[in-house]
């Protein structure tokens, strides 16, 4: 790996890590959903800082180009993040449904109570 490529990759990985910290600090992202992203960016920083890890892994998995291993790992990681997001959305939809139903039941009770009140007066 050339020096330039290593520098760019390191800068990119650190920027990603910084961006996630920024989102966390601003409250745009909750810690729960940031964990996977933090894991990914820390891994990228490690890969960029000491490419030796990548070379060893490449030899173990017998992949020709070290960078392909990085792509493969990143792709798997993104897949996991996307799956976790689908799960999160499904759970939110279920919670949202329960909330709407409870709201509708309460709204009917309130409406009827208000009607009783006005009838009394």
């Amino acid at each position: 790996m050339t020096q330039q490529l290593q520098f760019v990759m390191l800068a990119g990985a650190v920027a990603l890590l910084g961006l996630i910290f920024f989102f966390l600090k601003k409250g745009y992202m909750s810690v729960k959903y940031s964990l996977l992203w933090l894991g990914l960016s820390v891994l990228l920083v490690i890969f960029a800082a000491c490419p030796y890890v990548v070379y060893v892994l490449r030899d173990i998995l017998d992949i020709q180009m070290p960078v392909n291993l990085v792509f493969l790992l990143m792709f798997c990681f993104v897949l996991v993040v996307l799956l976790s997001l689908s799960i999160a959305i499904s759970q939110l939809a279920e919670k949202c449904k329960r909330l709407a139903q409870t709201n509708a039941l309460l709204e009917k009770r309130v409406r009827e109570l208000e009607k009783q009140e006005t009838n009394k007066q």
Partner: protein, 241 residues
């Protein structure tokens, strides 16, 4: 029994301004002793105003949940208010209230936990299009394969449920296209499901919720959901009949 039992008719309503008043008036005229509840699933037309002006009891969902979430809300209402039987009846005038007690009686007499009004037993009245019948037959076969229960009209929304079934549906009810799934999950959970012949009419006005374009999606989604239900719900032995 018929006089003392508390019966609630659930009428899901999404943009049914053309039909809803006629449907409710017909229900009130045909079955005067029966309570009813319209579930307004965040309609965007004048349906909510019509419900309010006519003084009908209704639930107003703040967001559109689709037929499943809306009907489930109705079951929760029935559970909270101690109803013995809840009957689902479409708001588009397809279901004739004259047949209400045909569907309710088997549940009141304890023959079934859920009783479905079927248009395919005596094959009278509106029979829907050929392609839909093919689809319904396929889903019916799939349900029979998955739980051994033979139901002909699996997509019929005209169905009565007893208090145990109401309690179950208020907790477990599919969201998108719930009718076939409800049959399977109820059967697998040990409830007795059956059907009785009714005559249905073509919808009086407005548009059906399932367009031609959506039918393929409907079939795939429902088939997959049924297969997944088969694996996720532990089969309970059917109670002694």
């Amino acid at each position: 029994m018929k006089d003392s039992a508390k019966i609630l008719v659930l009428v899901p309503c999404y943009n049914e301004e053309e039909n809803i008043v006629a449907t409710i008036e017909r229900l009130k005229a045909t079955c005067p002793g029966v309570d009813f509840l319209v579930i307004n699933d965040c309609s965007t037309d004048s349906s909510p105003a019509l419900l309010k002006n006519h003084g009908y009891p209704y639930l107003d969902l703040p967001i559109n949940l689709g037929i499943g979430g809306g009907v489930q809300c109705g079951y929760q209402y029935a559970r909270d208010n101690g109803y013995d039987v809840a009957v689902q009846m479409d708001g588009d005038g397809q279901h004739d209230p004259r047949y209400l007690f045909h569907v309710v009686d088997p549940v009141l007499q304890g023959q079934y936990d859920m009783c479905i009004g079927s248009r395919f037993i005596q094959k009278e009245g509106f029979q829907t299009s050929f392609m839909r019948r093919v689809g319904i037959r396929f889903l019916s076969g799939l349900i029979r394969l998955l739980c051994g229960k033979q139901v002909l009209d699996v997509t019929s929304g005209f169905r009565a449920a007893n208090s145990r079934m109401i309690e179950y549906f208020s907790r477990h009810y599919a969201s998108d296209y719930p009718e076939p799934e409800a049959i399977l999950s109820a059967s697998l959970s040990g409830f007795r499901v059956g059907e009785v012949p009714v005559v249905m009419q073509e919808r009086q006005g407005g548009m059906s919720s399932i367009s031609t374009f959506k039918s393929a999606y409907y079939m795939i989604k429902v088939s997959l959901a049924l297969i997944i239900d088969r694996f996720s719900i532990r089969k309970v032995k059917e109670a002694a009949q």
